[in-house]
């Protein structure tokens, strides 16, 4: 799902800027209701993309997914497609 890529990207950006991730900041970045954000985070953990729901640190699998996802966004941009 596209939202997983957006969420992982937001988590990585938060980690790059701060020591701790604040969920409300993530919520603003990806623009989803808080309860849905929580369920997406649970799904990310179940998929093995993050270590746990507290630290929210990306696993190697999560980083790999994010790299692939960024390639896809780059590809869509090169193809002239911009989905809103």
């Amino acid at each position: 799902m596209k939202i997983y890529g957006d969420l992982l990207s937001a988590l990585r950006s938060e980690f790059n800027e701060k020591e701790r991730v604040v969920l409300t900041h993530i919520q603003v970045r990806i623009n989803v209701p808080f309860d849905r954000l929580k369920s997406y985070i649970t799904e990310l953990r179940e998929l093995g993309f993050i270590e746990d729901e507290t630290s929210l640190k990306l696993t190697e699998k999560g980083k790999q997914y994010l790299r692939e996802y960024e390639k896809i966004l780059d590809f869509m941009k090169r193809m002239g497609l911009t989905y809103q």
Binding site: M1, K2, Y4, G5, Y65, R67, E68, Y69, K71, I72, D74, F75, M76, K77, R78, M79, G80, L81, T82, Y83, Q84
Partner: protein, 225 residues
């Protein structure tokens, strides 16, 4: 009729174009494979139809051949391919639930394309055969319109965010459009130069898509900046 000229050359060209199209499809399917987003289905389906169209044309011109009454099938499939691509671009910038809408539209188009092909192939083949000569010209004009729309769309997209990496794709579609346009001339006046021109421009167009896909998915992170 010019459509039956140079059968061996056409068979080879169509076979190579089929291979190129399916290699491109392999790249174009990556976004859908990773995200399962319906909106990412348009591009691979478009190029898959283009590949099927080339494969059918290669078969038609091969010694095996198929019933001349089915000669319209590659042309119709090619038109479906360009419609898929045009619809993908048409809906890609629509706000509010565009992703879901595009996914549903793509699936609907797929059903319509398969249903029309089935009806013309098995229920009323005579109808398709009789109208083929005229339809061929109109379908090619329609193809050029679809490709021109996509080329303009992608050029505008490039102008909005000037980035050298987005410049290639508009040219890819422009070359495909020129390929269709020159095929139209070939069909009308049997000009050999139009035939060669259409082949060259179509291959250049496909090569551009292959190059863009390869650069995106296999260039190093350093190159990607």
């Amino acid at each position: 009729m010019s459509a039956n000229m140079y059968p061996t050359e056409r068979m080879i060209v169509e076979a190579v174009a089929t291979i190129l199209c399916f290699v491109i499809v392999r790249f174009m399917a990556k976004p859908y494979k990773l995200t399962r987003e319906g909106s990412y289905l348009g591009l691979p389906l478009g190029f898959a139809f283009l590949g099927i169209s080339n494969a059918l044309a290669a078969l038609a011109y091969s010694p095996l051949g198929f019933d001349p009454k089915l000669m319209w099938l590659p042309q119709l499939t090619r038109t479906f391919a360009f419609v898929f691509l045009a619809v993908t671009y048409l809906f890609s910038n629509r706000k509010s639930k565009s992703s879901k809408l595009l996914g549903e539209t793509t699936i609907s188009l797929l059903i319509i394309a398969v249903a029309i092909s089935f009806l013309l192939a098995f229920v009323a083949p005579q109808f398709a055969f009789e109208g083929y000569s005229q339809a061929n010209v109109y379908l090619r004009i329609f193809n050029v319109i679809c490709l021109a729309y996509i080329a303009i769309y992608t050029l505008r997209s490039h102008v909005k965010n000037l980035d050298p990496t987005t410049l290639w794709v508009p040219f890819g579609f422009i070359f495909l459009a020129i390929g269709q346009y020159t095929l139209l001339f070939w069909y009308i006046d049997s000009s050999f130069s139009a035939f060669v021109g259409s082949l060259v421009t179509t291959f250049v167009g496909l090569a551009i898509f292959l190059f863009v896909s390869y650069r995106t998915f296999y260039s190093s992170d350093k190159e990607r900046g």
